[in-house]
Amino acid sequence: MLPIIFVMPILQLVILSNAATFEVKNIKFGYIDNDHTSTSRALIEKFKASTYFNVLTDFPSERLASSEMLNGKIDVVLEIPHYFERELQKEKHNSLGVTVNAIDGAAAGVENVYITQIIQRFNKNLKVDLLQVSDAQIQPVTIESIPLFWYNQTLNYKTFMVPGILVLLVTMITLFLSGMNIVREKEIGTLEQINVTPIKKSQFIIGKLFPFWVIGMGLLTVGLILARLIFNVPMVGSLALMYFYTSIYILVVLGIGLFISNFTDTQQQAMFISWFFVVIFILMSGLFTPIESMPKWAQIVTEFNPVKYFVEVMRMVMLKGSGFNDILPQLLKTALYAFIMNGLAVWSYKKIN
């Protein structure tokens, strides 16, 4: 069992952190060039040069492109109209048709941004080329924004995901193990034998939960080492603070697990209920989707999600170097949560029916 507890999360961390990315790459790109001029070819060259677009197909007609899109062979179609270059020189402006497969809405948005960026850059260079002396006076002033990405300068997706996935693993393993544990004793009957002994409720529960607390801390350690060695995630903040917060956080998870255990009779029931909570906790934790963009009611619900606080704290401390005072609100809420959940768990555990 012990190898499973440690090997599976390590594999998950390595695989998920590499695979679960929002970066949209390998966009299957197709184009319809109705113009066939040097300008239109130069534009397509720009797309070819981009690392985000890879499969390039030249379609003779829009109908063919549409059917390919329907078959899922391409994600984006760029249509360059007839007389693109001529109109551009004459009218000084022109339009391009861009069709994006938006089954995955988030990806479509990102693809659109990439395309717009490439076309804008192309447009800028084009202005210089097409500029005639007489136009120089009426050239508009352009404002350019230069973004600076703090705490994750290269927008490395793994830097963002690894702390989050680490949180996910610590939570899942400790919740499942603790949730199934006492129920297992119910199933095999050892709980009955224990219940007739003079052992105190609190002694029994501490005895049951302490090993999982240790396992949780062990997982955090292994995860942090991997994050450093494999993913080279920066660890700006204090390790001691991360451990301190995690030690309290695991108590919350164990309390929830124990509570589930007390109200179920079989491991199957415990497993289903644990899954129910884990899925809600993870999807509403801000791990994959920002909490700020959730509807108001959902944001209120996330206040009761311990995983949310853990994700926040891990990212704050690891990437931003937040100190004790910065994470104090999360810490207090987590501590309160731990107190309530464990109180409920001890209260609901009955030695007598």
Binding site: I188, G189, E192, V196, T197, P198, I199, I352, N353
Partner: protein, 300 residues
């Protein structure tokens, strides 16, 4: 200091598991609860070991009330549930050590009490409990139930699923434990084991049918029982069942236990009837009632 139960009732939703159960177990007595599966034996054990609240009635175990003094009861009773419920992934020695520690004692302290039993499983002390044979498991469970020198020992069907030799050994062990100032309440569905108890209570459908010593219970049997044997067992039973004067017909090993409803029963008459049913090698002889016969009669 034994066990005293008065008017205990317990029901689960629609099933009345226990109805007005009352009995006394004297100190150092080996008391048997005899009844078929589903009679309410385990429920009664769970009530007396403070695992379950009774709906009605009061009971004391070792002089302590089962509701108010439940903590004291837990310190002074040993309970061996019907289902093997020690930690299967701990070794024999670890299990024993674990339960000794929970009761705040050590193996050494009460070793003399479990010695006779423990020496039999000692060769396997490094083996995991889950890998032991059925009889070994029972011995280990008994050791664990005894490790804190309980005043009262509850054994719920300790010999179910155990081979005949181990069963015999087990009852010999119980007899020895009785000498060491331990009150024992044991339940069993096996009628032959009942004769080994000091007193027994026959229980069925949550009601106690009779409480007495095994000898007295057998004496109470109202009728003369006859062992009947013939060449064809199946036909014998069907013939006896259709015989107009029969009172009870139960197969019992190689014989059929037969009682007649008449007071002036003549075995020759029955023999003639059976011969008319094409049965041969007919033997009919008087026999003494067993606890099983008594139970069947009472449960009728």
């Amino acid at each position: 200091m034994g066990i005293s139960v008065s008017n205990i009732s317990k029901s689960y939703k629609k099933v009345n598991a226990l109805q007005n159960i009352s009995f006394e177990v004297k100190p150092n007595e080996l008391f048997g609860l005899i009844g078929p599966d589903g009679a309410g034996k385990t429920t009664l054990f769970r009530v007396l070991t403070t695992l379950l609240f009774a709906d009605e009635g009061v009971a004391t175990v070792a002089g302590f009330d089962i509701v108010n003094d439940y903590k004291k009861i837990r310190n002074s009773v040993g309970y061996m549930p019907g289902k093997f419920s020690l930690y299967q992934d701990l070794t024999v020695e670890e299990n024993l050590d674990f339960f000794a520690t929970i009761f705040g004692t050590t193996i050494e302290e009460n070793y003399d009490l479990i010695k006779d039993i423990y020496v039999q499983i000692e060769p396997f002390k490094a083996r995991r409990a889950g890998k032991l044979s059925g009889g070994m498991k029972q011995k280990l469970a008994l050791c664990c139930a005894l490790i804190h020198k309980p005043k009262v020992l509850f054994l719920d069907e300790p010999t179910t699923g155990v081979d005949p030799v181990s069963r015999k050994e087990f009852w010999e062990m119980l007899k020895r434990l009785q000498q060491k100032d331990i009150t024992i309440l044991v339940s069993t569905p096996y009628m032959d084991e009942a004769a080994l108890c000091d007193r027994i209570a026959l229980i069925q459908d949550g009601k106690i049918l009779e409480i007495d010593t095994p000898e007295a219970i057998v004496k109470h049997y109202p009728k003369q029982i006859y062992n009947v044997r013939a060449n064809n067992m199946y036909q014998l039973i069907t013939s006896l069942n259709t015989y107009e004067y029969n009172h009870s017909v139960y197969p019992f090993g190689e014989f059929v236990h037969y009682t007649d409803s008449r007071t002036d029963f003549n075995p020759e008459e029955l023999k003639a009837y059976l011969e008319s049913k094409n049965l041969s090698h007919i033997e009919i002889e008087k026999t003494k009632a067993t606890i099983e016969d008594t139970f069947m009669e009472l449960a009728k």
